[in-house]
């Protein structure tokens, strides 16, 4: 009998030690828990690395000012590997086991589309900081989802507004074969056609294509003057390198859906002259942004890219909504407080509209250009377009 008794005690002891902390946590909730679900490993880990930097900056800042509603902010990281199935599993773990109510940091639209519908059931919020698929705020919208970043359609909108005045007439659209790439190219094509421009071809190579030669030949043959491309993180430098080798960049203007720092870092000086809309640029000269860039650079020794900056804005705005609601536990109150609220963002005032939880935001067209103050190319701001022109009509991807 001794053995059996030992086993029972052991089982009892182990289950108590496992479940007790969980019970205690559930009762007290003395901190505001934020789940960062992002690609920390695998091919898209660049987004996770950037998101993490922005989150670290936010956590340091918010806890230094006494937390949210006097409660310290606790960050829990999980690796989504940029895979929708893994992301759902890890999100469920964060919500059910760790008691997290606020999720952000997802790297791919496909992940966000898989998790967003679970929000009402899990009683959790999903905040998009980079995912661009239009469906998230249109056909697949639910109240537990907020998008702090510009969607792919908004990026395409800025580009087409810019091209309106350009002498270029013929364009080629290249997007990776998944929600974001297809949305961006479709939206660009629609808007460019409406401007009387011609789309001479589109192609949708799979994510992770290592040889773009065939696509480059097609673009060359099409006679396009500009090539609009919406490729995912790792694919941009590969495409660019090969486009350069085939001499494509000499004949065709390169137009990126988002002109990110990381591309400038990876591709280097060969990127000079490439234009693109941007979701955020560290060169924006508002006082708040200058302060952010300086603090961020001091902490991480790099300039913030858009995932860093937008995840920071999203969390800072969430903190504002929680404080306005006066509770970090009652999600309904927080959602209501966030809806139709205004926030002083890095590039100026932002508005979260109630009807589809898409941030109402202007847009910048930028160019990779030299700047004597920096040893590398910087995203130089060419033009700014107002929020009214850049944000689509509610629950749609239409602008006029």
């Amino acid at each position: 009998m001794k053995r059996r008794k030992f086993l029972m005690v052991a089982v009892g002891g182990i289950s108590a030690s496992v479940s007790l902390p969980a019970l205690l946590r559930a009762q007290t909730q003395n901190q505001v828990k934020i789940g960062i679900l992002t690609a920390l490993s695998g091919a898209q880990a660049i987004y996770g690395e950037q998101t993490k930097r922005g989150v670290e900056y936010f956590a340091k800042e918010v806890n230094a000012r006494g937390g949210i509603l006097g409660k310290p902010v606790e960050i829990i990281y999980e690796d989504s590997v940029a895979d929708p199935a893994t992301a759902v599993r890890k999100a469920q773990k964060l919500v059910e086991k760790d008691g997290v109510k606020f999720l952000t940091g997802l790297s791919m639209s496909s992940e966000a589309l898989a998790i967003s519908p679970k929000g009402p059931e899990w009683n959790s919020l999903l905040i998009s900081n980079i995912t661009g698929a239009g469906a998230l705020t249109t056909t697949a919208f639910n109240r537990n989802f907020f998008r702090i970043n510009k969607s792919a359609a908004m990026g395409a909108r800025v580009t087409s507004l810019y091209l309106q005045d350009s002498p270029m007439k013929r364009f080629y659209g290249l997007g990776n074969d998944y929600a974001y790439g297809r949305d961006a190219v479709a939206s660009f094509s629609k808007q460019a056609t409406a401007l009387g421009k011609e789309i001479v071809g589109t192609a949708f190579p799979p994510v992770g294509t290592k040889d773009y030669a065939s696509y480059i030949i097609r673009i060359k043959e099409s006679g396009a003057q500009g090539c609009y491309f919406a490729l995912t993180g790792g694919d941009v430098p590969i495409f660019f390198k090969q486009a350069l080798q085939f001499g494509l960049t000499r004949d065709v203007k390169m137009i990126l859906e988002t002109l990110d720092n990381k591309y400038i870092d990876q591709v280097g000086d060969a990127m000079e002259g490439t234009i693109g809309s941007t979701r955020y640029a560290y060169t924006i000269d508002t006082p708040k942004n200058q302060k952010f860039v300086a603090g961020f650079h001091a902490m991480h020794n790099v300039y913030p890219d858009y995932p860093d900056a937008v995840v920071y804005q999203g969390l800072d705005w969430l903190a504002q909504a929680i404080e306005k609601a006066g509770t970090a536990d009652d999600l309904e109150k927080i959602i209501t407080a966030w809806e139709d609220s205004t926030y002083e963002g890095l590039e100026g005032s932002l508005f979260m509209r109630k009807c589809d939880h898409q941030v109402v935001q202007g847009g910048y067209m930028t160019e990779a250009a030299r700047d004597p103050k920096f040893p590398h190319l910087v995203p130089k701001i060419l033009t700014h377009y107002s929020a009214e022109r850049v944000t689509p009509k509610c629950r749609t991807e239409n602008f006029d």
Partner: protein
Amino acid sequence: MWSFVVVQLLNALSLAALLFLVAAGLTLIFGILRVVNFAHGAFYMVGAYLGFTTVVLSGRFWLALLVVPPIVGLIGASLEVSTLRFIYQRSPNYQLLLTFGIGLVLEETVRVIYGANSKSVDAPSLLDGSVHLFGTPYPTYRLFLTGLGIAIALGVWLFFARTHAGLIIRAMAQNSEMANCLGTNVQRVRTLVFGASCALAAVGGVASAPMTTAYLGMSVNVVVDAFVVVVIGGLGSVVGSAAGSLIVAAAQTWGGYYISETAMILMYLVMGAILIFRPHGLFGEKE
């Protein structure tokens, strides 16, 4: 019209060269060690990143191509001695888990050391430009890749067909116990084959960097293609992996041109057809 066919053919050949360097090692390791090496793509990746480091430190691409493969070969051989050696007798599941684990460890080590940004490697100045083919510029580096692939394929083939060491390895592939009885140090041959296969993958990795950059997803990316190559060409056959590489590269190149979405599907369709009509692959032997 002809210019297009030639250019696409060259594109397919240069891609096939990279695939072959990985697939040949994969098929050799299976032929001699009877292990499906899931970590093989990771050696390709480690090769690319070490190549990047060598180019940054020395400024010489050729040095990277010369120095990195032996280093990766040594890493591979020492992993064989320290881990794989102990599980040859166990069920294949252990080998899958072990090699998959080694692959993950190598990939994450690379990420921790180099960070998540992809690393751009410039082609040596000799090959950095382009030549004019039918009036359009074609990257010289791709011609070099094609040449490199053909040279190494011929070298590997000659090694097996004409040398004593090649003979011993072929004997081991047929019956390792008998080879052991006839005085071959089976243990040592296994280590050497594993190391050499990893070195081949590293040649591919270094050579790929100026074309595709060194990036985090390259390991999984290439190993999936290499498995398809090996299934098409036949497990254990080096000639088969050369043929398979050409077929897969052609499918991706032409598929990508005509209907971009099918670039990957086409390759799997060929594989499916092979599995149905010739399950042991084009050049594989019936078990």
